[in-house]
């Protein structure tokens, strides 16, 4: 670090904190590409070599990148593209075309998008002229006219590749892969998907034209590496303006990662999923609790963030129910116990509820049937119960068969936390049979 920098290191804490938040948020939310993808060196090399050969030698290729959600498929591809475009001869030569199966839901839209991104001559401004058939013929003609040595290579990047396989006749895939296997303009077809069985979706002719190169991104990250990653993700970069704060922050992160409760929280997250996207969510929540008065992440922040991440959404809804609705839920629970998960209807629930009122209840007064019905319907709207009949069947509301979408543990947990729950209701819930 230069002398000049050491001199002007003193920044107010507030400014430092806002700097920190900016840097880390960019890491966690804006999907900033890391310098080098972690734990996928061989895949990185394979893909880079492949695309480089397309870009430099004009060799057509096709490849699939397969990995579970959040495993870094897009990150890997973007890293490779970034690296590829840094090569001097390449960046002016390749034409990347980005498609996404969720956006281009059929071949017509996909073709228009390809034509638009390639900016062929039937594109004016943002509009693509011609019918679907014309567009297809035009694109194929354009690709056919090209040749290996003189046309610019086109990189077709198909995100959510499996969705393209659902298009009618798989026309687009057939044609792209056919171009990649014939002496036409050089193309690279890169598919990204999380489905391991993606090849089984391809029609036999399409499958034969695919080169069967698959790059699997399956993280075999150990917990130690995971922990290292957390540390490096939270640490500040070397060029942070305030050196004093830089040291303090990085030291505090180091001690944070050695704290046993933090390690436990992270272990729990690691056990549940290894992907970095859910980790980023957790760290983001912890980061948001940092302020000028508390300029470091404390173990409690991480515990709190983890609690927010892990919370059961259904239990949360249960906290907001009225006592009547809660009673109905308990009645349903008992019905489930008695009939071993068979569906029930409103009348059964109401009977169960009335039995409780007559026998045990002192605190809950008798509700009219329409009021109970209303509460029942509210539960249905919250999707805590679900109708088993098809919607076409005309059955009176009272006799529609329903199923409870809650687990016993969720109900009991909610009862424990429910504010000022009457004791007799609690006891009713705990008792074995109604």
């Amino acid at each position: 670090m230069s002398k000049r920098k050491v001199k002007e290191t003193h920044m107010p804490v507030g400014e430092c904190i806002s700097q920190v938040q900016m840097i880390l948020r960019e890491r966690f939310c804006h999907q900033r590409l890391p310098e080098k993808p972690v734990g996928m060196e061989s895949q990185h090399k394979h893909l880079l070599e492949l695309l480089r050969r397309t870009a430099v030698h004009g060799e057509s290729n096709s490849v699939l990148i397969v990995g579970p959600r959040g495993s870094g498929k897009t990150m890997l591809l973007n890293c490779v593209l970034r690296e590829l475009l840094e090569v001097k001869d390449v960046n002016k030569n390749v034409l990347p075309v980005h498609l996404n199966g969720l956006l281009q839901t059929d071949d017509r839209i996909a073709l228009k998008e390809i034509t638009r991104q390639l900016n062929l001559e039937n594109v004016v401004g943002d509009k693509v002229f011609g019918s679907f058939a014309e567009n297809l013929a035009f694109l194929l003609e354009a690709l056919k006219k090209g040749d290996r040595s003189s046309s610019r290579p086109v990189l077709f990047i198909l995100d959510e590749f499996d969705l393209f396989a659902h298009h009618k006749n798989q026309t687009l895939l057939y044609n792209l892969l056919d171009v990649s296997q014939s002496a036409q303009a050089p193309v690279a077809v890169i598919g990204l998907t999380c489905r391991l069985d993606v090849l089984e979706l391809l029609e036999k002719r399409v499958k034969s034209r695919f080169s069967h190169r698959q790059i699997h991104l399956l993280s075999s990250l150990s917990f130690i590496q995971y922990l290292d990653n957390v540390r490096s993700q939270l640490s500040l970069p070397q060029d942070f303006p305030d050196t004093k704060f830089y040291d303090e922050w990085n030291d505090s992160i180091k001690t944070l990662c050695e704290d046993q409760s933090v390690v436990d929280v992270l272990q729990r997250h690691y056990n549940s999923s290894k992907d970095f996207r859910s980790l980023h969510l957790l760290l983001m929540l912890a980061l948001s609790r940092v302020s000028a008065s508390k300029p470091a992440i404390k173990p409690t922040d991480l515990l709190e963030a983890s609690r927010v991440c892990m919370v059961d959404s259904k239990a949360n809804i249960l906290h907001g129910l009225s006592i009547l609705e809660l009673c109905l839920i308990i009645a349903m629970k008992h019905l489930n116990d008695i009939y071993e998960g068979e569906p029930f209807n409103f009348q059964m629930v109401h009977n169960e509820f009335k039995k409780f009122l007559q026998r045990k209840s002192h605190s809950i007064h008798n509700f009219d049937k329409p009021v109970v019905m209303k509460a029942f319907e509210h539960l249905q709207q919250l999707e805590l119960i679900k109708s088993m009949d098809s919607s076409t069947a005309k059955i009176q509301k009272e006799y529609q068969l329903m199923k409870l979408l809650l687990d016993h543990s969720q109900i009991m947990e909610a009862l424990q936390k429910y504010p000022q729950c009457p004791t007799d209701v609690k006891q009713w819930a705990m008792s074995a049979f109604g």
Binding site: F129, S150, A185, C194, R213
Partner: protein, 662 residues
Amino acid sequence: MFVGLLLSRYLNMSVEGQEAVTTVTPGQYILIEGNDDEYPFVAKLLKFFGDESHKQKKALVQWFLRLSEVPQNKKLLLGRSPHPQEIFYYLGRACDNEINAESILGTVHVRQDNSPDTLYVKLSWDTKAFNVLDPVLMQDTPASTPPKPALPLFPPCASPTATPVAGSVSDTRATMSAGKRSTLEAESIHSASKLSASKILSAKRRGSAADTPGVRKKLQLSIGASECLYCLFNILFSPFFPELRKELRNSVCFPCFLIQVTPSTPRHATPSIPSRTVPARQPGNILDEARARLHVSSVPESLPCREQEFQDIYNFVESKVMDGTGGCMYISGVPGTGKTATIHEVIRCLQHASDMDEIPTFRFIEINGMKMTDPHQAYVQILQKLTDQKVTADHAAALLEKRFSNPAPKKETTVLLVDELDLLWTRKQNVMYNLFDWPTRRHARLVVLTIANTMDLPERIMINRVASRLGLTRMSFQPYSFKQLQQIITSRLNKVKAFEEDALQLVSRKVAALSGDARRCLDICRRATEICEHSASHPSSTGLVRMSHVMEALDEMFSSSYITAIGCASLQEQLFLRAVIAEFRRLGLEEATFQQVFVQHRALSRVEGLQPISVSEGLAVCQRLGACRLLLLEASRLDMLQRVRLNVSQDDVLYALKAVRD
């Protein structure tokens, strides 16, 4: 670029263009600058006159058309193939017969009898039909030309495309399909552009000398706005200046008033991929070379292993071409067995033979069921490849029907290759019916070669009358045996020594056992060269692709990734899979609801000493496994009641989980 500049340049130049030196006299036939340097417009000069300001010489002409200038869809009206030197007397009224004297290129001879080297005229064209030319019209009487209405200020097609009101942008799609527009309108655009093209060209030629880029003459206000617009439209609508139009695509600014011009429809767009600035690098080392040769796209010197099929198809097509008859052939075979490649090879050889005058000439057309959006597009594509016409599917079917059923002299045989035939299936099967019916017509001279994957396609999907017309000329391509695959690779490599002999044999045996797909075989070899290249840094490597490299490539391509995926899954995901199996065992079924599995999951995590997870988390775990398709799930809105199935065999799961624990 601003139109203002363009117009001022034109005006500026037309002032200077007085000293045109031409020695033409009225009554002579002249050539006028047009869109095509080789084929300038032809006209007969009627008289000279000066324009209103007496600054510019103008001329009155009688136009003659070449067949290339007749609209596409009217060319058939001639009913015969035209002589390249034939021109037609133009009787239409839409074309302005005033031209600038400067645009005259020179004189030309035009006769009324058929002579090989000069232009001749026999028919007249009145925008609707060809008629025999009245000889009176050709006599040298300038006065006999019929008076013609002045060209309207706005060509009829201009109104939907551009409006002189600022800011209003009309839908450009209105002018998109030329087929819908009436013939008269199409004709008028054509003729209007004829005039404007010559104007602009001459203006451009002289302007290049006089104009410097720095000088921007202000447009004089005396010029009528309508005149400006007219010029502008001419420029916009002339198809000859793509570069001008490109510049004008953006909104155009006028010095006197602002107009917005919507982008013009790219009617003459040429399909092409931009070319690269640096040429592609050539393969450097032996492995690169081998890889290039092994790419499926590289055309081999010869097609080994399909000699018998080649000979059969060759004989079939050759005999049909020789006899001038028609016929159908059905070729089947699994993907990657060289069906299309063999036919292309046959056609290449036949073309060669016809070049050597051994057999009559023939046309080869190829369509592919997968490369069209709808079976009826087959007609459109065939017609476009035959005659370069662009029409709708119904019209194309009618035209093809006419073409193949009517006798015509000097008709050459057409060889039509229909790839992926099964995709041309329609409910009424009329596309297939027509394709197989045309060859049976007496005058059709059509040979249809069809390709599909299944051998029994005609019996399975075709109704009797279609299958019967297809006939029984069938051929099936068997999957390649390992010897053939080996031969294919060796012949492709063509003495480039990159593979060990054993390695080649392993690839070909493996592929032959699986599918016999030559593409797969070549792809594996290519991947093996890459792996070899990566491991080339080892001191022990010989630079040749060895067994180990091929094994690795085979592993990559054929091994199932499920087991690795289970091994790499997170702890909770693995636990969930165990819970699924435990629940299946308990139920004795291969299906369970999430709720049931979750109970097992909770019990298992207690056994393992893990903190039990909440239902939400459990569902998330389940969804993640479902996204990878390790599990098959019902729609997620069923929540806890969604049913769960394994997409892998239970043994695989247990094997993978055991491997993890050890």
